[in-house]
Symmetry: C2
Subunit: 416 residues, 2 copies
């Protein structure tokens, strides 16, 4: 079933893996034999100012789920848009490909930042209104954080990782800590919660405990080194690291300090008589998925492949990722790339020799507070759902994702 | 001259800085007073697939130097293109705004990745040719690295930080370590150097010592989470972390292992009878620059400002950044954001109360091997150039950049 032990050194040097697995020119090619392109992209002032990608790169976002396209007149073209994780490399999701969750559709508020204001009111000592210019003068932080929609879950009808897991993305966010602003306004003793409101018609607000507001929330204006993109909340977005996506209010315009949990439109997903389900929304559990090889991709021939994927958790930094290539019977540690940041996508890699037989690949992660990503049957049992059919229940499904490699090298979603 | 000691806590809470310096709504605004935009960006299939930025965000690259625009027929529109560092936030330069250095102009090779090949030959045990698909199966790494053009230097005619320092950028690069590939080809005992060649007509090659090739060079296909952009070498670029930009060959097609330093077109900048000058090209020295406030920007009124900038070094990670607000008489430590990566831009921040008087802001950095960014007169003395006029000499100028704040809040390049 291939090597279960990642061993970069010696693995390739041994020669067997590469020589047996890759289609390489085994004899010295004649000098000058390599193709020399005669096509050029003609420089334009537009491309000098702000570059674009190659016409050969066609990775795009898709509506999520694929058939969820309400009337263009009513809600724009789509409701949710999923990121093409199958093509992802590294930690960052490019801003142009970052997933979009919206309650309004694809019509996006077109906000002039000179007119935009952020108001703090309610149970504060000093109500304040900030302009964008005010905010940019204040002490700032830059941190990578994922945002994930609670509806991000795999179903047997999903073929690709974009369909099963594309409602999560990770960016380098820059802005002012919410605690900095709340210390400036002052919070009255009775102020135990905040409600954040964006500019969208359905406002994207939900109640957040003061402990979280004073901890690591960011009033962000920067995303991946430039201004936040309109589809992700330009000019201002509330980052609530590790909480489900809907808390991360876009087009942030108002924060009210209140004394109790306020019900809002956004609580539709958090209401349930079963407290286990109702409480799920706050903190995304530990989760991982293999992005290569994943559903719809194709292994060309047996031999060496680097298995690669993403892991993340609302509980903190990822401390361990394990991979199985035999359907979960044996597990081995994957390599974690670089610094594993708190509440950020973490790239993992695992060295594998595919022997050409059918295989089932899975990943599971552990976060810094010891939470382990559950199996699908564990999630099902937790919700009291029939064994093997946990999807569709309220709240988050962070269960292990299996990919089946067929003997012809095609890759398939193995959940049933 | 303002606080020299960064002290995030208490600084704002004290109230004086913010209340005195920012234009804030001091009384509670009426509920509903905040503007509510009625404009929307209409969703289109194009924007769902691959998003764009707000029309209110107009930060762009510029030709470098601004008047360097050869004939469009001969070389495309421009020779070099500088990044708008004055608008930068965080560590990452967006790929659309990453600086471009080219010996060919703005006509960019338009390469079909299915046809592209990377050949290893010369003093190797086993000459090999890799397709892009081959390379993507191999063990990979993701690392943030800056690339800087050796011509990146401030002159008295430069007004903005884009003009003085815009020929450096930082991206999250993903690819295969060059050492992984060289271990696979094997290197003969006589193989002490490599020459890398790209597809450009003027090939962008220079000799690299084998010690560096086997250390941390990356054959990169990913940039900021997606494929490398055409202007930065799609589909394959050699990253030579910390070496001057011209070593980082774009459109990488061939690596030859050789026994000695080979002269190429690119060595025009490295040839000098003075060995101090001739040797400069390899390793970028420790360098930093304040990006806010910087030349051409405007402070609106006295009070609190976060001073922010970037530091980087070819010698390794940045270990310390100091800021002076009085022309270099007194220095205080700035805060370094998050993890300082080796050979990567590192964001620094410094809390400052502007008292409304003229001021001169400078930053200087120290790297992990103890190198300290030199003053302008130190660089001048090193080159034997007249005091105060070091620019224009061959090799790198990594001297401290001063910005003068006039009493009207306007910011100016203070070098003479």
């Amino acid at each position: 079933m291939g090597s279960q032990k990642p061993d970069r050194r010696g693995f390739l040097k041994g020669g067997a893996a590469l020589a047996g697995g890759l289609t390489l020119g085994a004899t010295e090619p004649a000098f000058g034999q390599l193709p020399h392109p005669h096509r050029y992209i003609k420089g334009t002032d537009d491309l000098v100012a702000y570059g674009g990608r190659s016409s050969f790169v066609t990775s795009v976002r898709i509506a999520h789920p694929p058939d969820n396209r309400p009337s263009p007149d009513a809600f724009g073209l789509v409701f949710h848009v999923a990121a093409p994780l199958q093509d992802s490399v590294g930690m960052i999701t490019p801003s142009s490909l970052h997933f979009i969750g919206t309650t309004r559709g694809s019509f996006v508020p077109d906000i002039d930042p000179r007119e935009h204001r952020l108001m703090f009111h309610g149970l504060v000592d000093r109500p304040l209104v900030f302009t964008m210019e005010d905010l940019k003068r204040l002490p700032s932080v830059t941190r990578p954080h994922f945002i994930e929609c609670a509806g991000n879950r795999s179903s047997p009808s999903h073929r690709t990782v974009q369909e099963t897991h594309g409602m999560t993305s990770c960016a380098e966010w820059t802005g002012v800590l919410l605690s900095t602003l709340l210390k400036e306004t002052g919070v009255k003793a009775a102020g135990k919660w905040i409600v954040a409101e964006g500019v969208e018609e359905v406002k994207g607000a939900s109640s957040i405990p003061m402990e979280k507001a004073m901890d690591d929330c960011i009033v962000a204006y920067g995303m991946n080194g430039e201004a936040i993109r309109p589809q992700n909340g330009f000019p201002l977005r509330l980052l609530v690291p590790g909480f489900e996506g809907i808390f991360n209010s876009k087009y942030l315009r108002r924060i009210k300090v209140v004394d109790r949990y306020y019900m809002t439109y956004n609580d539709y997903g958090h209401l349930d008589r079963d407290p286990k389900v109702a409480a799920l929304g706050y903190q995304i559990g530990p989760k991982s998925v293999i992005t290569f090889p994943s559903g719809g991709q194709q292994l060309t021939d047996r031999g060496f492949y680097e298995v690669s994927g993403l892991a993340w958790s609302g509980g903190g930094a990822i401390s361990r990722v394990e991979v199985s290539t035999d359907g979960g019977r044996r597990w081995a540690d994957a390599e974690i790339q670089g610094t594993a940041y708190r509440m950020a996508h973490t790239r993992f890699r695992f060295q594998w020799n595919w022997d050409g037989n059918e295989a089932e690949l899975l990943s599971r992660c552990t976060d810094e507070i010891g939470q382990v990503q559950p199996t699908r049957s564990q999630v099902a049992a937790y919700f009291g759902a029939p064994e093997g059919r946990p999807f569709g229940v309220p709240g988050q499904d962070n269960s292990v994702q299996p990919w089946r490699i067929a003997s012809d090298g095609s890759v398939h979603n193995a959940i049933t």
